[in-house]
Structure formats: C-alpha cells, structure tokens
C-alpha cells in the first residue's frame, strides 16, 4: 500500500483469541497488504483465552481505517482499536549492557538516575541497565551511554493503553477485553 504524505506513526490495540497461528495470521496480513509494522507486542490478558496485541504502524488515516477493517476480517481477531490521538500511555522496555568497570560505574549510575533507569546486574566489566519509557527516552539514554561502549541491548515492542475509565462503548471498544464465554456469532 502506497503511503500517503500524511503518514504518521499510529498505535493499534487488538484483542485476539489465544490460539496457535493467530500471530502468523496477523503478521501475514500486514506483509501481504504492505502495511509497515514498526513494532509489535503480544501477551496474555487477565481474560483466559484472550491475548492483547499492540502494534505501531506507519500509516495515513485512510490506510489506518483499512488496517482496522482488514484485521476485523480475521476470524480470530476479537476487536481492534486505533488509539492514535487518544490520551494514552505507550511504553517500551529496554535492557542495555554497558562496558563499564569500577572506575566509571558511578558516573553511569548517575546518568541512569536522571533517566529513572535502574541497574539490574553488575559484573566486573559490565553493567545492565533497565529502562521503561517511550522510544525517545530510550534513544536519549542510548545516546549518553554510547561513549562508554554498549556491549548489547534488547528492546521490547511497544505496549499501549488508553487513559481513564474503561469500557466507554462509543470510543473505547477495545478497552474491555471481550469475554469469550459471552459471545456467540450465529
């Protein structure tokens, strides 16, 4: 799908049936329609049999509507919501292993404090820092740690949640995980 000029980073939240192959169906759809996934996260919810996905996609408004509509066509997708523009929290988690021995360790720890990151593992020559936040915060921490030497880093996909009361049917269909027991199709 050709991206329009007004392409922006959009976040979607979807509830899907927790079944083998469902992630494959979703990603296959994205690949087939040439939707550009920036980040994808899947995990269980408190409702048995229901997983929640958060994905970030580069898309314009029109494409976003079609992404939603195409996802709905997948039989195992229970609900989809485009939360772009709605008051919401988005979080990434990163673990960063820095090459730092005892001499510069306190300097790194001080920087971490500024970013509200935590040291979660210390070894003689390395230190692992854990940070949660949005992408720009993580990018900035990476920038200041780079001079010390980053041995490796790993980052989760973005997870997102809208703020405020849940279950507002008009504009928050996806906030409430659908209970599989209560839904009958035909």
């Amino acid at each position: 799908m050709a991206q329009g000029e007004s392409s922006t980073l959009r976040h979607f939240v979807a509830y899907v049936e927790d079944q083998p192959g469902v992630l494959n169906r979703v990603t296959s759809l994205f690949r087939r329609r040439c939707y550009n996934i920036v980040s994808l996260n899947v995990g269980r919810t408190h409702e048995t049999g229901v997983s929640r996905m958060t994905f970030a996609v580069e898309a314009d408004e029109d494409t976003a509507r079609r992404i939603e509509a195409n996802l709905y066509k997948l039989v195992n997708v229970l609900s989809v919501e485009d939360i772009t523009g709605k008051p919401s929290l988005t979080r990434d988690l990163a673990l960063i292993k820095v090459n730092v021995g005892p001499d510069k360790r306190s300097e790194v720890l001080q920087l971490c404090e500024v970013f509200r990151a935590r040291a979660v593992d210390v070894d003689t020559d390395t230190l692992i820092v854990e940070i949660t936040g949005d992408q720009s915060k993580i990018d900035k921490l990476v920038a200041v740690l780079t001079p010390f030497g980053i041995a490796e880093m790993v980052q989760s996909g973005t997870v997102a949640m809208t703020r405020g009361t849940r279950g507002d049917a008009a504009n928050g269909a996806a906030q409430q995980p659908p209970s599989l027991r209560t839904i009958v199709a035909a």
């Binding site: 296959s28 509509a69 039989v75 229970l78 659908p178 199709a185 035909a186």
Partner: protein, 618 residues
C-alpha cells in the same frame, strides 16, 4: 451446499432442518466428515484420492454424495467454484496432502479473488509426524493463509464436525470466500461419539454483517435526488446478494443508466434499454465516457478494480460517489468515495427504494444514446470480408442460436472479452468467468461444476486454444462421469490477449505467443466425445445445433482470424476515456448504417442500439 432447487432467498449453508433421527453414535473421523457434509446439504464433491485422505475416501460409499473424480486437483477446485457460482451454494472439493493439496492452490486463489464460497477438504499427515517433513507433508494452512477467507487445521477426531460446520458458515456468510479444512490422517482414523450439532456456531471474532444507519440512507437519497448525470455500477455483489430484482426496481423508479463490471454481467438485464454494458478496460466507449462525465456514481457490490478504473488520478473526477459494499476493507481502497454504505446491497436497496422519488433522466440518457453513435463495437460490421471467421461473429451467433439463454463459462483472454461484449446476459449466474485472478484453465472444469448445479441448462464453454490446454485433461472426466457441456474453442493460434499487448505495446514482437495445438477434433474423438471444426461463418449454426444434439460433450474448434484484437481498449493505467479504437478499414465507413442518408430514419425503427448491431445476421 444445498441443491440448486432451493430457493435463492434462503440463507446459504443452513444445516438441514431438524434431524429427528440424529442420535449419538460412535463414528470414525472419516465417517464424521461425510455425515457433516450430508448435513450441510452437500450432494456432490469434486476430488482426487491419495494417502493422507484415503481413510475419508474409504468411508465415502454409503453416504448420499456423488464424487466426481477429476484428472488434476486444480480441476476439482474450479469445479467446486463453478458449482458455487451457478448454484449460489457452497462448492466442495477434496484432495490429499502435499502435492494433491498444492494442486488446489490456483483454484483456491481464484475463488478468493472473486469471493466464491467454497470448502476444500484436504488430508494431512498424521499429527504425530507434522513438522517432520514426513512423506507428502506440506504446511497447507500456511500455504493457503493469504488465499483463503479462513483455514483450519484439524488434528483431533472430535474437532472435525465443528471445523466443517464453521467452514461452511464462514465460506457462505458475509463476503463469501474459500475455506480450507486440513484434516490429519490420524484424526480421520480415530473414533469418537458423534451427533450432528445444530446449535449456533460460536465464533466470537467473526461478525460478517454490517448495517448502514438510516441517516446514511437519507444522505444517499438526497444525492440521488440532486443528480443530473447519474450512473449505477452493477457489480458481482448484486448477484451474490440476490439483489437483481431490487436493482431492476430501483432503475425502473429512477431511470438511472447501469454500467456493469465483468463479474456483474447478468446482474442487470443486458437487453434492458438502460443497460449500458460492460465498463472498464474493454468496456464500450460510451460507457467509459459516460462514467467520466457522470455527476453521481452509485457503485453496488464492486471494488473499483484497476481493470475498471484505469488511471485513478483522472477517474470520474466530476462524480460524487456512493459505494454500497459489504466489506468495509474495500471502502476508499482504490477510489475515494463520498458516501460509503456498508452492508448487504439487498438490504440497502430495500431501505433506499422508498426514499427515492420516481423521476426521469431523459436529458442524460439521450446524451448517452448520442455517445453510442460513436460506437466501437458496431465497427465489427466493417471487419474485412476476407472469408475469415471472426470470434465476435461466433459469439454473436452463439447468443442468437441459444436465444441468449445458455449458461456460458468463459476462460481468460480475448475470447473472454468478446464473450462479455457480444453475448448479452439477461439473467444472473448465467455467465461464469474468472475475473479477479484471470485464471486460464478455469472454463472447462468450472462448467463441469456448473453442470452439477444446473442439470437442465444448456452450458457453453467459451475458451481459447491456450487456456483450453491448461485443463483439457478434464475431458476424460467428462467422458467417465457423463458430464455434458458444449465447448467452443476460439482457436486463433495465439495466446491472443498477450499477442494483442505485444502488438500494441511491445513493438509487435510476438515472443512466446504463437501456440500450436493438437487436433481438437481428434482429441475429442480420442476421449469418445464429439468434435467439429468450423472455419466459415455460415457453418456456425449447423455446428451449434449439432453440438447441442449430442448427448456427449462436444468440442467445436472455431478457426478464427488469428491476429484480431479486442476493441476498444483502455491501456493499463491510462485515462478511462483514452481508448484504442478498432482501425476502420478504408472504404468500410460508407457501409455503416449511421452513414445512411439523413431523414431516412423511420419512426417505427427502434432507436439505435449498437450492442445489437453486431454484423449481418444470416
């Protein structure tokens, strides 16, 4: 599913009404497959056996289902597809794992592109060896993921019945499509307690129905009332939704002219004065011009395919667009519309009808009639009289000799477009053709499937010499299964449509398009079928009549002009009204009726309708 005798207004795939006999029994998975199919109303399946589906085949006798043994699984898929298109029900095909299943792929993709309800049952290696690259193991749910509406891998006996029930429900509800049920050999061999379940199907994530809100209907009615140059697009959805009657009512009330997509042909009677014919790449000049001049387009059950729109940047710039469509994912995909009405076109027409006033569209309709004066189709009359047989003549004559009532199944290529132009279909489900995928080899097997659905129809296959050879092996199936169809091979010695593109766009270099064929008459004979050859127009009638009189399948090898082209033509991606016209031979102009001395036109002469003026009728 259901026999075609069933009323078309009934929802598809309704399980057979309360089965009082049904009680719990212990059955094998194989028996459960057939029992469930019988309960779904299936009376015929098309298939081919092999290792992983042998248990199912072994259990088949004893169930009231006819099995048609094909010669290649692609044929089975197209037969199921043709059965579905002709009957309005669900077609069923069956194949073994691995190569058997992958041979279905083309047919499944074809059904997906044209939204055809089909259930494909495939055998799979035992669940204990899945993933081990076992003999004839192919990850078939993986392969078919992007070309099915849904697919299900079944590894346990007790899951077979629910999976098949879901498959029928999903295939036939909402926007229809093919569903694959891949059943492991051990699931077929296992046993469990079984009783056909008639409770509602639980699919929490599947909501195929959409309903427009009354405010949107009112908005549409206002646009309709204000339109001066309106045009209706009749797409495949009109036929799929059984909405042809309502469309006719709508047109009779509004006097809006109707243009049709290839798959919409038959959705509105071609002989109705307000039918403009097919739009798009090989649509008539006046249709495409009218679209470009229109101020309102009401697109019903169609998806603005690129073969219909041409250059999107210049497409129907002056028109407000109402898009009536069941699938929300089609809205604004290719063409931006002003008012989407998402839902079943039949329901929407029913809501809309009382809100539109009776009106006429005389100025606009007479303008379109003027455009017809500039027709390209009627230039068929100036085809050089060099003794050659022209495909257009063959199709036109076929239409006349069958009184326009045949069920015609076309393949893909030039002959397909000529059929669409010259065979006037007044009824839905009487033209079956591969639109979205353009699958050569579709016609013969699809027609054989249609035969199972419509035992009393006169069926004609219109196929090219190239495409026929892709699935010609199914002639043997015709012979073995006593399946009678008439086959008109439009034999031009070329992969004609590709040759035409080479002529227009590749400097006339005919690379890999001249195609040699076997002697089709002898081929028919070798199968114990009938074969005839026609090289002159005056032989057409006798051949058509002979073909219909044979009880066996009959091939007519029509040796037509080799380098004829389909006109008019909008080159891919060009503006819709920038068409390539048929070159008019010198001296031919004066023979056109429009060149008759003015004032000679009589009052009782019907108004000029170039669709019907296709050559001198004998």
């Amino acid at each position: 599913m259901a026999s075609p005798m069933k009323s078309m207004t009934e929802p598809r795939a309704t399980p057979m009404a309360t089965d009082t006999e049904s009680r719990v029994e212990t059955l094998t998975g194989s028996q459960i497959i057939w029992d469930t199919l019988v309960h779904q109303g299936v009376s015929v399946v098309f298939g081919y056996p092999g290792g992983a589906i042998m248990p199912a085949y072994d259990a088949m006798p004893g169930y009231p289902i006819r099995h048609v043994l094909v010669r290649h699984e692609q044929g089975a898929a197209h037969m199921a597809d043709g059965y579905a298109r002709a009957s309005g029900g669900v077609g069923v095909c069956i194949a073994t794992s691995g190569p058997g299943a992958t041979n279905l792929v083309t047919g499944i993709a074809n059904a997906m592109m044209d939204s055809i309800p089909m259930v494909c049952i495939t055998g799979q290696v035992s669940s204990t060896v899945i993933g081990s690259d076992a003999f004839q193991e192919v990850d078939f749910t993986g392969v078919t993921l992007p070309i099915t509406k849904h697919n299900i891998l079944v590894t346990r006996t007790q899951d077979i019945m629910p999976a098949i029930r879901q498959a029928f429900y999903i295939a036939s509800s909402g926007r229809p499509g093919p569903v694959v049920v891949d059943i492991t050999k051990d699931a077929q061999q296992g046993s469990c307690e079984h009783r056909y379940d008639t409770s509602p199907i639980r699919l929490p994530g599947y909501r195929p129905e959409h309903h427009p809100v009354p405010a949107e209907i009112a908005e549409a009615a206002a646009l309709i009332a204000a339109a001066k140059r309106p045009i209706i697009f009749c797409g495949h959805g009109i036929i799929e939704a059984n909405a042809t009657g309502l469309l006719l009512e709508f047109v009779q009330k509004t006097s809006f002219p109707v243009a049709l997509t290839l798959l919409g042909l038959g959705g509105f009677p071609a002989t109705h004065p307000l039918s403009l014919g097919m739009m798009g790449m090989h649509g008539e000049a006046w249709v495409n011009t009218a679209i470009q001049e229109a101020d309102l387009i009401i697109a019903m059950g169609m998806r603005f395919d690129d073969r219909v729109t041409g250059n999107l940047k210049t497409y129907a710039q002056n028109a407000k667009k109402i898009h009536i469509e069941l699938d929300p994912a089609e809205i604004n995909k290719n063409v931006k519309v002003d008012l989407p009405l998402v839902g079943d076109v039949r329901e929407i027409l029913r809501m809309l009808l009382p809100q539109v006033a009776k009106r006429n569209c005389d100025v606009w309709n007479s303008h379109i009639t003027e455009l017809k004066g500039d027709s390209a189709v009627r230039e068929i009359q100036s085809l050089p009289d060099n003794g050659s047989l022209f495909a257009a003549h063959v199709i036109h004559d076929l239409w006349r000799y069958t009184q326009g009532k045949a069920l015609v199944v076309t393949d893909v290529g030039q002959h397909q477009m000529w059929e669409a132009q010259y065979y006037k279909h007044d009824h839905p489900r009487k033209l079956l053709t591969s639109g979205g995928a353009g699958t050569m080899g579709f016609a013969l097997p699809a027609a054989m499937g249609a035969r199972m659905a419509c035992p009393d129809d006169e069926i004609w296959v219109v196929v090219g010499d190239g495409g026929f050879q892709m699935t010609a092996c199914e002639l043997a199936t015709c012979a073995q299964e006593d399946i009678k169809v008439n086959i008109a091979i439009i034999n031009n010695g070329f992969l004609g449509m590709v040759r035409q593109w080479q002529q227009f766009f590749y400097g006339g270099r005919y690379v890999a398009t001249p195609i040699k064929s076997p002697d089709f008459v002898k081929l028919a004979d070798a199968h114990g079928l009938k074969g005839l050859r026609v090289t002159k127009r005056e032989e057409v009638k006798a051949a058509v009549e002979a073909a219909r009189s044979f009880k066996e399948t009959c091939i007519i090898d029509f040796r037509v002009e080799q380098e004829d082209s389909v006109y008019p033509m909008v080159p891919a991606g060009a503006d819709l009204d920038k068409m390539i016209r048929r070159p008019v031979p010198v001296g031919a102009i004066s023979e056109l009726p429009s060149e008759e001395a003015p004032g000679e036109a009589q009052k009782d002469v019907p108004p000029h309708n170039p669709i019907f003026e296709t050559g001198k009728d004998h």
